[in-house]
Structures are given as structure tokens and as C-alpha cells.
């Protein structure tokens, strides 16, 4: 049985270590926040200028001046700090963030990621995604293994415009976990969702990877 979106998020959350500073993207990555164990002290960064993102505010306590990078209302914590965009990305680009978890349209077997543009269709812009994949120490992608048309998203080569080249360190899909090896630059299938077979994964993947 493939993992649910929340199970993917929970698997990603297991990668968080005590003391980590983490930036979470939109979609499945957002769900990671709810899956962080109380014993793990993790600080969430928002690229619009905040460290220490709190939970969504209580109804009636929303503050238009307090939003995350997805423009959702959030709350602050006693340990929060605010800063401007230039400082926020100095922090990201300078390698001070330990981990980012992002969604993707495609991931290639060399660790390329495409998640910002579908030519002629989606022209929203890359936001902070290119900065995050280039600057953060470790990049984890969470995504469905296939798109809605049933086609593989973990591919030999991305067909969509790239967000970053050879930047993905780990890929978590509903079917399993792939870790990219420093030595070879190739992904290795390191974990399989319950009752999913290696053959099923291979059949839904056009990327080449190690077992």
C-alpha cells in the first residue's frame, strides 16, 4: 500500500534532527510540521523573513503582518526572530539552513529538480525555490511517484525547466525512499512503502537507480 501524503510527510519528518533549522515548501512539505516529534527541537524558517514559525493562529488572532512564504497566516513563538528578505536569503544561500523539504514536478536520476514552471501553462515564477536548492545544506523532495496521468515523475532527465541541477539529496515518494550517494551521484532505493514491491517501483520509474 503506497504511503499517504501524510505518511510521506511523516517519513520526511524522521530526517529532522534536534537543533535543525529547516525550511519547508508548499504542499506535502507543509504537512511535515505536524509530524515533528516533541522531543526534536526544530526551528522553521520562512524565506519572507522569519525564524521560528509557530502554528496557524487561533481564529480571530490572524495578523496580516504575520504570514509564511505561502502567504498563509501563522503565529510566532517566544524564540522567533524577524529579518528582511536580503538577510533571509543570505542565511539560505550561505548554507546556514540545515535542511529544506520541497515538492517537485520532476526529479532526475542525477538529482536535478524541476518544480517551478510548465512552459505555456504555469508561469508563476520560481519564488525562493532556486535559492533553497542551491543554498541549503540538504535537500529532500517529497512528491507523488507519478503524476495524475500515471506517468513517472522520477525520470532519466527532466523535461521541464530546471530549478536546480544535481541538488536533490533524498527523494521520498508514496512508493519509497531514494537516497543520492555522494560517491556516485546516483540514487539508491533505501526504503519501500508497505506491500509495495521493487518491481512495482521499477515499473513506475523512468530514472535509473541503484537497489
Amino acid at each position: 500500500m503506497p504511503w499517504t501524503r501524510n505518511e510521506i510527510a511523516a517519513r520526511a519528518a524522521a530526517e529532522l534532527e534536534d537543533g535543525f533549522y529547516v525550511n519547508l515548501g508548499i504542499g506535502i512539505p507543509t504537512l511535515v510540521a505536524n509530524n515533528i516529534s516533541d522531543a526534536t527541537n526544530v526551528t522553521l524558517q520562512s524565506e519572507n523573513g522569519m525564524l521560528g514559525i509557530g502554528p496557524f493562529p487561533l481564529e480571530g488572532e490572524e495578523d496580516a503582518d504575520l504570514i509564511n512564504a505561502g502567504k498563509q497566516t501563522i503565529s510566532e513563538l517566544p524564540s522567533s526572530a524577524y529579518f528582511g528578505s536580503a538577510e533571509s536569503f543570505a542565511m539560505i544561500r550561505g548554507g546556514h539552513i540545515d535542511l529544506t523539504i520541497l515538492g517537485a514536478l520532476e526529479v532526475s536520476e542525477r538529482g536535478d529538480i524541476a518544480n517551478w514552471m510548465i512552459p505555456g501553462k504555469m508561469i508563476k515564477g520560481m519564488g525562493g525555490a532556486m535559492d533553497l536548492v542551491a543554498g541549503v545544506k540538504r535537500v529532500i523532495v517529497t512528491m507523488d511517484h507519478c503524476n495524475k496521468g500515471g506517468e513517472p515523475k522520477f525520470v532519466q532527465q527532466c523535461s521541464l525547466p530546471l530549478t536546480g541541477k544535481a541538488v536533490v539529496d533524498m527523494l521520498i515518494t508514496d512508493l519509497g525512499v531514494f537516497e543520492r550517494q555522494l560517491s556516485t551521484g546516483r540514487f539508491r532505493l533505501s526504503e519501500i512503502a508497505p506491500n509495495v514491491t521493487r518491481e512495482e517501483i521499477a515499473a513506475q520509474t523512468s530514472a535509473s537507480y541503484d537497489e
Binding site: N48, M50, L58, K71, T73, G125, G127, M130, L162, G164
Partner: protein, 235 residues
């Protein structure tokens, strides 16, 4: 020589002209200089280049200047919330330079800090690198990015004194701080103008040197793009 002006129109008097480049603060609808944007709309200047992380939403913020067709070119990182933007862009009416958010912030900082160009890893191997010089440092590939400097900066702060010293509130700081530096002249709107001496010198987020003209735009009805809440039980 007071920095205080009665309203946005007066604060912008003599500063606006066709074909100019505006550096505009804000992130989404958070911390946007809405009074000043409306005054730019009313002034009717055209053919503008606007440097701003986002383009507002339809009819709000910079969305107003898109609706009136006053913007010729946007330099932005994300415009996903604006349908009119998409329409004009696909129709070829609007020129767009997509720039990664961090690179945009750094290009504006560089423009304000006298740095004409710098190297970054952001965008290596992507469309963003096309036509740009690349170079290796310590075995890693980097892109050379050029600074951005506008003719006029428009920002929104929380409080300021008449010396121009300003503080921002929470995540409404975002691009406002850096945009203020990226043009020879910055006009700011704030929620309250306070007496000189009431902002602690150690607490100033933006020193008055950057802020040449100032209005109080209160009262504000701040818009929220995505209202997300939790219920008391879940808390």
C-alpha cells in the same frame, strides 16, 4: 526640513515620470505600500519597470498598475496570485524578468551597496543562467548576477520618526528594508509617525538616511491572502 507629507500624492510630487524604474517593497499583500501605489496609479505615469517580489493580486497592490496598463516590465520572483498578470504576459503586453527571490533581494542589496555584480550558485544549470557569465570558485560553478538600482523606491513601514528612522512589524519587513536602499530616493508610508527620540537607536531597522519623504497612511485595512487558522481544541 521635514520629511512629512500630507498624503501620497504630495509625497510623490515631482518624482514620477514615464519610463522610470520603481523598486517596491512587500511580499504578497503583506507590507505593500498601497497608498503610494494608488498615487502612482492616479498620476498615470506609464511604461514603468517595476522591481517587486510579487505583482499583487487582481485589483490589489501592483495589480492596480497592471489593470491600468502602466507597467511595461516586471522583475519578480513569483506572480502566481495574479490572473491579469498571466493574461498580459501570455498576450505579450507585459515583459517579465523572473528572478529567484534570493537573487532578487541580493541584486537590490548590491544596488544599494555600490556592488555592480556578484556571484551566486542560485540558478546554476537553469534558465536563469542563460546568457550570464559563469565561473568556478573552489570547484563549484557560480553565476554572475548584476545589481538592480531603480529611480525611486516605494516602501511601507510600521513606525517612523521625522528623522526617517523606521521600524517594521513582523514579516511585513520583507523586501521593504532592502528596496529602500536600491534607489537614490525612497518614499515611505507608515502606520504612525512618532516624535524623534521615541524610537530606540538600537531598535532602528532602517536608518533615516534612506527615507527622504514620509506619509502616515493610517488607517489601514490590511488584506490577508490565505487565512489559515487552527481551532482552540487543536491548540
Amino acid at each position: 526640513m521635514s520629511r512629512k507629507y500630507a498624503n501620497a500624492t504630495e509625497a510623490l510630487a515631482g518624482l514620477l515620470h514615464d519610463d522610470m524604474t520603481l523598486c517596491v517593497g512587500g511580499f504578497g499583500l503583506c507590507g505593500i505600500p498601497e497608498r503610494l501605489i494608488n498615487a502612482v496609479r492616479d498620476a498615470g505615469v506609464r511604461n514603468l519597470t517595476v522591481v517587486s517580489n510579487n505583482a499583487g493580486i487582481d485589483g490589489e497592490g501592483l495589480g492596480q498598475l497592471l489593470r491600468t496598463g502602466q507597467i511595461r516590465k516586471m522583475i519578480s520572483s513569483y506572480v502566481g496570485e495574479n490572473k491579469e498578470f498571466a493574461r498580459q504576459y501570455l498576450a505579450g503586453e507585459l515583459e517579465v524578468e523572473f528572478c529567484p527571490q534570493g537573487t532578487l533581494a541580493e541584486r537590490c542589496r548590491a544596488g544599494g551597496a555600490g556592488i555592480p555584480a556578484f556571484f551566486t550558485r542560485t540558478g546554476v544549470g537553469t534558465q536563469v543562467a542563460e546568457g550570464k557569465e559563469t565561473r568556478e570558485f573552489a570547484g563549484q560553478e557560480y553565476i554572475m548576477e548584476r545589481s538592480i538600482r531603480g529611480d525611486l523606491a516605494l516602501i511601507k513601514g510600521w513606525k517612523a520618526d521625522d528623522a526617517g528612522n523606521m521600524i517594521f512589524r513582523k514579516t511585513a519587513r520583507n523586501f521593504n528594508q532592502v528596496m529602500a536602499t536600491a534607489a537614490p530616493l525612497c518614499v515611505a508610508e507608515v502606520e504612525g509617525i512618532v516624535p524623534v527620540g521615541s524610537i530606540e537607536p538600537d531598535a532602528v531597522h532602517l536608518p533615516g538616511i534612506y527615507v527622504k519623504r514620509l506619509i502616515c497612511g493610517a488607517p489601514y485595512e490590511k488584506k490577508i491572502e490565505f487565512r489559515t487558522v487552527r481551532t482552540k481544541e487543536a491548540a
